[in-house]
Structure formats: structure tokens, C-alpha cells
């Protein structure tokens, strides 16, 4: 059994998307340091799951990144960082990476890898992640993500009015997915 989720977005069947979820992570600071130093082994999108609502929320960001890449409109250097950037509701790259990306004190991680040319087989992805991350892999599901969500962080990161309810996850996901799709256009 694979530790994470491997899928293809219907509109981008040529790209393979890997999503992994890890708890009890102890080496977030090291990962972040390697990431900042540009170590190519670390070309994954490391997301702090506290600001994530559901699997569909993650896929909305992947979709936005792929759409922008197709149009030649990537704002960051790699597709991985673009996925993290796409999560944010603003055009500020540094701010978005700080809010949604891995922090030194992150103890859980959601990891996304998008292969546009399937050079990597999925088991090597999981093997590599196992080496990189010191933590426990758990199944990627809405239920598991929901356990890690901090609703107030989500509300703050997306600047949602108090009138907008986030209790219903499926409705809340539509709210953030819309913000992701319209980022920079509102």
C-alpha cells in the first residue's frame, strides 16, 4: 500500500500528483533550511496543514499552478513553490510562503509533488519523502486533514468575513477554492 495519494486532475491527465500527509514531524527546521538553500532533492511543496481544509482545497491550488504554468505565467521559480503560492489569497509571494508553507515549528506536514513529465515513479517519491521527513505518514483524507485544521488560521489567511461560515467543510472548501482561482484577479 502506498503511504500517500497519487492521482491525476481530470483537466491535466498528463501530470501525476502525489499528496502525502505526515504527523509528529521532528525535523521541520532542517527541511526548511534545505529548501531555502535550494537543495533539489527537496523539490516538493511543503504545506502546513493547519491552514488546509480538505483534499479538494489542495487540488484547487495544484490546478491553479498548472493552469498558470500552461499559460507561461508562473510567478515563482518552481512548480512546487507555485503550488504553495497558489494557496494564498494574495499576490505576495514571501507572505504566502510564510503563511502556508513549512515553518520551523511545524509538527505536521502536507506534501505535494506534481510530475508533469513522469520521470519519477511514485514509489521513489514516497521513498525519498521517507528519507527527508522524520515523522509518521498517515492516509491523506478529508477526515485526517480536518483533524489538523485550525479554522481561525484559515479565516485569517483568506481574510474571510465573520459572516461567512466555515462549519460545513464542503461549502468552506468552495469559498477558499474560489479565492484561489481568483487570486490576483479580484
Amino acid at each position: 500500500m502506498e503511504p500517500g495519494l497519487t492521482l491525476r486532475l481530470p483537466q491535466f491527465p498528463q501530470s501525476v500528483v502525489h499528496v502525502g500527509l505526515y504527523t509528529s514531524v521532528t525535523n521541520a527546521a532542517t527541511i526548511r533550511k534545505e529548501l531555502l538553500s535550494g537543495n533539489t532533492r527537496y523539490s516538493y511543496a511543503f504545506v502546513d496543514p493547519r491552514s488546509m481544509l480538505s483534499v479538494a482545497h489542495v487540488l484547487a491550488a495544484v490546478y491553479r499552478a498548472l493552469t498558470d504554468m500552461e499559460a507561461g505565467g508562473l510567478r515563482t521559480r518552481t512548480l512546487s513553490s507555485e503550488v504553495v503560492f497558489a494557496l494564498g489569497g494574495t499576490m505576495n509571494i514571501a507572505d504566502t510562503l510564510r503563511r502556508f508553507g513549512i515553518a520551523d515549528d511545524s509538527d505536521s506536514l502536507l506534501v505535494v509533488k506534481v510530475d508533469t513529465d513522469q520521470t519519477k515513479r511514485s514509489n521513489s517519491v514516497w521513498a525519498e519523502l521517507e528519507e527527508i521527513i522524520q515523522g509518521t505518514s498517515i492516509p491523506v483524507s478529508d477526515e485526517n486533514i480536518a483533524q489538523l485544521t485550525d479554522i481561525e488560521t484559515v479565516r485569517k489567511n483568506y481574510k474571510l468575513q465573520p459572516g461567512i461560515s466555515l462549519v460545513d467543510r464542503s461549502e468552506a472548501t468552495k469559498v477558499v477554492a474560489g479565492a484561489i482561482a481568483l487570486r490576483g484577479y479580484l
Binding site: R8, V55, A56, L59, A71, S170, K174, A177, A181
Partner: protein, 288 residues
């Protein structure tokens, strides 16, 4: 010979199975069973709360390039219009107004993804009911008017109040017709209807096609919206249009701002403008 219909970008038509369901001057409407970024089926247990009800499917609205326009201008117009529609859809969704919920937009290619609304248009629904009522009753039957009132009035009241909610947010639709209002089965079942009456469940109206929608605070623009709808009733349901329009306006006035003081003033102003618009038609200035 008619020229070939414009085609979707091949990257999309190769990836998804899309059915053209409507073709207008400005855009094409495609239906898809698949969500653009949520695969179906997903590995078991992955998604418990999907982003939407998958059964109704999804709509892709495509504004193809117009070959007769200069390409730079064309790209700019397409981007502008696509974005304007997407923003309004999202804004209305956030405000809790019944519209197809917005999924994604690609302004460069003129694409908007939204949820499909599974149900007949208001136009078809009234035609169906009228035929049904006429079948039940003889010519000039007194009960006929009663039946009509009972079955059609509650829906038209809610249509009016939905338009009022839209206008209260200062969004005008721009092309309000009985075909641009769809009816879907009410999501709230039972709770609101009192004792188990034999009446059919009143479906909920969903307003679609915000391609010509705009932000506007002018009572004039809102009156024109209502006027356009009134004309649509007159031309598609000529026999009883007077009653229908009356019910829609009744729902509109009652639903506008729901008792807020400022709303009462505003809606009066809109109704006054509507009288003026009726006299002179949709176009404001007749100079020329």
C-alpha cells in the same frame, strides 16, 4: 454555408468529455460529468466532503476568440468579460444568493467553470404547469384561476425575492429573462412547509448567466432589469403575464432588504423608475 463553430482549446477537449449544450453570440456552454480538478472516483476514503454534488455535473462557459476583432483587443475584451463574470459569480456565492457556484476561471483562454444546475428553466416550468392546469379544468372555469394562483404564485414570489437580494447587493443582471432563471429541487426539505399539504414542493429559483451583469447603485438600472423580465413574461406567457409580473414584483418588494429602513426607501424609488421605464422603454436617451 455556415462557418465552423469555434472550438475549445484542444488541451481541454482532449482531456475531458464535454457536450455543447448552448451556443450564444458571446459564449458556448459545455456540460461535463467531471470536475476540472477533482478526479472521480477518488481512491476510497479520500474525500468525505466533496466539493459539490457530483450528480448534477459541471458547466464550462467558453468565450471563443472572435476572428473579426484585432487579436490584442480581442484578448483584452475576453479577459475582462470573463473575469467580471467570475468575480460576480463568486461574490454572489459568498453572499449566499442562489447562483451556480463558481469553481475556477482561466481569463486568458476565456473559460469559467461552475456547477451545473439540474432543473428546468422558469419558462418551461410555467408552460408545463399551464398545460397541466388547462387539462384539469374546462374553458373559463373559475377554479382555474385559483389553481393557477396556488401552484405558480409561491414560486414567483420567491423569484422576486431572489432578484431583490441580488439588487440589494447592487448587482444588476443585465439579461434577466425567464430562461435565465432555473429551478432546482429545494435543498431544504420539509422543514418550512407546514402541515402535510398536498401541494407540490416549491422548487428554488437559481439565477444564471451573469455575462452582462454589472455592479450598479442606480435605481434606474435595477428598474431596467425588472422591465426586461416583465417583457420576457409578456412574450413567453402572454395570457397570464399580468398576474405573473404582479407576483414577481410582490416578492421583490417584500424581499428587498428584508425590512431594513433604507431598503424601503430604495425599493420605492426603483418601483417609481420602473413606471418611467415602462413608458419609454429600456433605452434611456432617445436623442439622435
Amino acid at each position: 454555408m455556415s462557418p465552423d463553430l469555434p472550438k475549445l482549446p484542444s488541451a481541454i477537449s482532449n482531456a475531458l468529455e464535454l457536450t455543447l449544450i448552448s451556443q450564444g453570440a458571446e459564449a458556448q456552454i459545455y456540460f461535463s460529468h467531471e470536475h476540472p480538478f477533482i478526479p472521480s472516483p477518488l481512491p476510497a476514503g479520500t474525500i468525505t466532503s466533496t466539493i459539490s454534488s457530483p450528480s448534477a455535473g459541471y458547466i464550462l462557459k467558453y468565450r471563443p476568440p472572435k476572428p473579426y476583432r484585432h487579436s490584442a483587443l480581442d484578448a483584452q475584451l475576453t479577459k475582462h468579460r470573463t473575469l467580471s463574470e467570475a468575480r460576480i459569480l463568486y461574490k454572489l456565492f459568498l453572499a449566499g444568493i442562489r447562483v451556480p457556484s463558481f469553481i475556477a476561471v482561466d481569463p486568458r483562454q476565456g473559460l469559467i467553470w461552475m456547477e451545473n444546475i439540474d432543473g428546468p428553466s422558469l419558462k418551461k416550468w410555467i408552460w408545463m404547469l399551464e398545460a397541466e392546469i388547462e387539462g384539469q379544468h374546462g374553458e373559463g372555469d373559475d377554479d382555474e384561476a385559483m389553481t393557477r394562483q396556488e401552484s405558480i404564485k409561491p414560486l414567483l414570489l420567491s423569484v422576486g425575492s431572489e432578484i431583490a437580494k441580488l439588487h440589494f447587493l447592487d448587482i444588476v443582471h443585465g439579461d434577466l429573462t425567464t430562461s435565465n432563471i432555473l429551478l432546482r429541487e429545494s435543498s431544504r426539505t420539509g422543514a418550512e412547509s407546514g402541515a402535510d399539504s398536498p401541494k407540490r414542493i416549491v422548487p428554488e429559483p437559481v439565477i444564471i448567466d451573469f455575462g452582462l451583469a454589472q455592479q450598479s447603485t442606480l435605481p434606474e438600472d435595477k428598474a431596467v432589469d425588472l422591465y426586461v423580465l416583465e417583457r420576457a413574461f409578456i412574450s413567453t406567457h402572454p395570457v397570464h403575464s399580468e398576474a405573473y409580473v404582479k407576483w414577481v414584483l410582490e416578492g421583490y418588494v417584500a424581499g428587498f432588504g428584508r425590512g431594513k429602513k433604507i431598503a424601503v426607501f430604495k425599493v420605492k424609488e426603483i418601483m417609481r423608475k420602473l413606471d418611467a421605464v415602462r413608458l419609454r422603454g429600456r433605452k434611456r436617451s432617445m436623442v439622435g
